[in-house]
């Protein structure tokens, strides 16, 4: 097991992502943030609480999205779903999807499918803490990246105890 981001580096990275997100949007009232279960929600909680501290916008809307019912490998294994909570309209908003690790791109594809069943956003952006760039299986890229890491396909990158670690198999 190898530590990719220590807890200090993690909180610095989250802060930088929050800064970038604020600077890239002139009006945060037109933006909603959505964390993808489960890792993306952990990161999303941190990013959004940073944004709420730094930004002057009145109300930052934040929801949680679960892709269980939309997975493309549902034929292999049936999983119990996580909580889904998007208590606001996404119609004509800019939706910032937040995930912990961008790997094959399949999770994001499924998340886009879920999102479109909620409405038609003006724009969807992707913010990830870690990008495992060389393993993409779908044409999906992130707009905001905390750190890019080189990994082998069999490795696992996880957020454990406030650190980002690489577990090699």
């Amino acid at each position: 097991m190898q530590v990719l981001l220590t807890s200090q580096q993690l909180s610095d990275t989250v802060r930088q992502l929050a800064d970038q997100l604020i600077k890239s949007h002139t009006d945060l009232n037109d933006v909603v943030f959505v964390g993808i279960q489960q890792g993306g929600v952990v990161v999303g909680n941190d990013i959004v609480s940073n944004i709420r501290q730094i930004s002057t916008a009145q109300k930052i809307q934040y929801g949680q999205l679960d892709i269980t019912f939309y997975r493309d490998d549902i034929r292999k294994e049936i999983l119990a779903p996580d909580t889904m909570n998007i208590p606001f309209a996404i119609e004509n908003k800019t939706v910032v999807l937040i995930d912990d690790v961008l790997f094959t791109g399949r999770t994001i594809k499924a998340a886009l499918d879920v999102l479109l069943d909620y409405g038609r956003p003006a724009k969807v952006e992707l913010c990830v803490l870690i990008d495992r760039k060389e393993h993409r299986q779908f044409p999906i890229q992130a707009d905001y990246v905390g750190a890019t890491v080189e990994t082998r396909k069999t490795d696992k990158v996880k957020l454990i105890n406030n650190e980002v670690v690489l577990i090699d198999n």
Partner: protein, 308 residues
Amino acid sequence: MQLSTRHLLGIKNLTQEDISLILSTAEQFKEVLQRPVKKVPSLRDVTIVNLFYENSTRTRFSFELAEKRLSADTINFAASSSSAAKGETLLDTVNNILSMKVDMVVMRHSASGAPHFLSQHIPAAIINAGDGINEHPTQALLDAFSIKEKTGSLEGRKVAIIGDIMHSRVAQSNIYLLNKMGAKVTVCGPPTLIPKYISEALGVTVNYNLKEALEWCDVANVLRIQLERQNQVLFSSLREYSLAYGINRQLLDSLHKEIVIMHPGPINRGVELDSDVADSKQSIILQQVENGVAVRMAVLYLLANRNN
């Protein structure tokens, strides 16, 4: 997390974990049903036959809607308008349907144990939508979901099941489920409609006095008097039944607390429930129907069989 069973034949052979998994999954499906697009692609590759050897409106529609909301392909079979009327056996009918690449069977039959029999002979996943006087598991699951939603939990909850306990598969499934989940159950009705050894067999309390049962409970699940299942006269008239076991506004107002009223439908208005009770704020009868779709989606999703 997976269910401990490949079929849903009854509540009797489910574990506490199975029930909790179905109920928590149903919560997520209930959320799906509030969205602008009330549909998920989970069962896109699954074909389901609804095999109804006995009449049903609510349960069949509820299953069919649940299947469609999961994107499954469905075919419907009603015994009266099929080859069963020409004398084809149950097993032959089902094998013929399965040879057309059907993955799951939702089945209602007037013979107790019909789905159990089928499960021993065919590879498809079977979901019991009511068999004779045995079980109606999805009804018990949606009742439990509705109780939990309305009152917060099942543990320690006092539930009175009122009416024709003898002929009721809803009562039997409810008793199994509530016992497994730590709720307390009292059955109430005329002695002729309550099996003699039910307390020993199923661990419930029996009370023949309606007012006492209502005074005791948090939730009253009122059953339909099933005239079609009675070969002998077990009470003298509907009017007499209604006088002793019908729930009206006056009776509810005389209690010392507000209880929740449930009914699996269809209601015999003026017999087991008066209209001003059935349509009151205390009644969650229509929520039960709404929750039925989410609960059945959960069951179908968790049992989805893709072996064919």
